[in-house]
């Protein structure tokens, strides 16, 4: 058992707080994108999950994800209710107290479950949202976190995922696709079709996007799990990828629609951040810029796909987190450099890493999508997934929560 470092501990405490901020930031980001009659219900998804997921994580989730491994598949039950997790460091982070590692990971779990909510916004029945999210944490997120970070089979195989390309973004993207398929499209999408509506408050979305970017520094550099060179490196690769994501996105939209937009800037930054998440602590700075730039372009294209494929992923969780996470995981297989964190990718003469990354992408999508579909089926049978048609048309703020965001 190695010694606790005060510096690392202070650093990860701050990073945990930054990652916590990402969930309210996501609520703002998503809340601005929906119609005014659904802004509170959309915000409620993120805020209620801060409650539900945090408690479930401390009681059951943590031990399933990070308890002693059983067969590469799951953690055991030895840390139920965080039993035995305290001052001593865990094998995952040798210089911070185990309790801090559990707290840091708790914030990731909350955010990931909340990310999925962008898909089913504006039409899900609130009790169904709570039940699905609780089940999704236990049966999708916890296994994914264990497989990649908790000494499970994907991590042992050598799959690279620095801060959650697979665990956070591909998993939420696959869950979002499953939810869009299971719920079907919203009732009154109007002439635009393909799940496109006019966002009711873009300044709110931009503020949320800015705060997500800020929180992402805790997410990515905190994933170094110590306050050293690697954390500093991840901080800057993260920032530059977000910057390049803006450029990639607005360049293509400028070319194809004639004008750059503020929603394009916010979406492009997010796309760049998602894309660099798996590689932030594995790739050099210049490849990080490329990963972010291409991420902006890939996600722009992926968002448009939903019209072609006909699923109503309301706020583009698949297009941004699913597509961006997939691109980032593959790009990490190409650009990982031993000089940064001990592993070379394809570009540095290690084609084998590419195969591992491909396998992790396929396994993540298949596992997360299929288990999500099963959970959605069960929840539909138990409480009914969708709000009643008249409730949906009235707006979920009034019909599910008895509140209105804007008076007069």
């Amino acid at each position: 058992m190695s010694a606790v470092s005060a510096v690392d501990t202070a650093f990860i405490i701050v990073c945990s707080m930054l990652v916590m901020l990402m969930t309210p930031a996501l609520a703002l980001f998503y809340g601005g994108l929906v119609r005014s009659r659904n802004v509170l219900s959309t915000t409620m998804h993120s805020f209620s999950l801060l409650g539900v997921v945090s408690i479930l994580w401390a009681t059951l989730g943590f031990t399933l994800a990070f308890g002693p491994d059983i067969g590469g598949v799951t953690g055991d039950f030895s840390a139920l209710f965080l039993r035995g997790i305290g001052a001593d460091p865990l094998p995952f982070a040798g210089s911070i107290p185990g309790i801090l590692f559990a707290a840091f990971q708790c914030m990731f779990a909350v955010l990931t479950v909340a990310l999925v909510s962008g898909s089913y916004a504006e039409r899900i029945h609130f009790p169904a949202m709570l039940l699905f999210s609780a089940l999704w944490l236990i049966f999708v997120y916890c296994p994914m976190a264990h497989w990649v970070w908790g000494k499970g089979w994907l991590g042992e195989l050598g799959a690279l995922d620095f801060a959650g390309g697979a665990v956070v973004h591909m998993s939420s993207g696959a869950g979002a696709l499953a939810a869009a398929h299971a719920l079907g499209p919203r009732l009154d999408l109007g002439g635009g079709g393909g799940g496109h509506i006019v966002p009711h408050n873009l300044p709110m979305t931009l503020l949320g996007g800015g705060l997500l970017w800020f929180g992402w520094f805790g997410f990515n550099s905190g994933s170094a799990l110590s306050a050293g060179v690697l954390a500093a490196h991840a901080l800057f690769t993260t920032h530059l990828a977000a910057a390049a994501g803006i450029l990639g996105w607005i360049l293509v939209e400028w070319k194809y629609t004639g004008k750059p937009t503020t929603l394009g800037v916010a979406s492009g930054a997010l796309a760049g951040l998602v894309a660099i998440t798996p590689g932030a602590g594995f790739v050099e700075v210049l490849p990080a810029v490329l990963i972010g730039f291409v991420g902006g372009i890939v996600c722009y294209g992926a968002v448009l796909l939903k019209s072609r494929l006909g699923y109503d992923d309301a706020l583009d969780v698949v297009g941004i987190h699913g597509a961006g996470g997939t691109w980032g995981a593959l790009a990490t297989g190409v650009f990982a450099a031993a000089a940064v964190n001990g592993v070379d990718g394809l570009a540095y003469g290690n084609p084998g890493q590419m195969w591992i990354q491909l396998l992790s992408v396929a396994a993540t999508w298949i596992f997360c999508y299929s288990v999500s579909r099963i959970l959605l089926y069960l929840v539909d049978r138990i409480v009914g997934l969708r709000a009643a048609p008249e409730s949906e048309l009235t707006g979920l703020d009034i019909s599910e929560h008895n509140e209105r965001a804007y008076q007069i």
Partner: protein, 112 residues
């Protein structure tokens, strides 16, 4: 006494207000409205998806005017609000049966 309902481009509000003040019109209510006539809607683009906005933002000014002043007000408004493009708006002139000032109970022209 007539009521004028003047629907104009939001960008022309200050010009029209100034023109009416010059004519001694010292009261008006305005509302932000949305609608369409021959101009139809306009295009908006969100995340690469083009949406037709059915209704265009306009400002509606409502004001009460003595009968003899109506023509002057109409002329001044035409001058101030016209760009010559589709979407400049409309002026409705409506008869008013009576006006009552709530504070004093005065009615008719006294209440203007």
């Amino acid at each position: 006494m007539k009521k004028l309902e003047i629907i104009i481009r939001p960008s022309k509000l200050m010009a029209v207000k100034k023109a009416l003040e010059t004519l001694g019109i010292h009261g008006m209510s305005i509302s932000e409205i949305r609608g369409y006539g021959r101009q139809r809607g306009h295009k908006e683009v969100y995340r690469g998806a083009t949406l037709e906005s059915q209704f265009v933002p306009k400002v509606q000014i409502s004001s009460l005017v003595h009968d003899e002043a109506v023509q002057k007000v109409v002329d001044a408004t035409l001058e101030a609000a016209r760009t010559g493009e589709l979407g400049d708006g409309k002026i409705f002139v409506l008869p008013v049966e009576n006006v009552i000032r709530i504070r004093t109970g005065e009615s008719g022209n006294d209440a203007l």
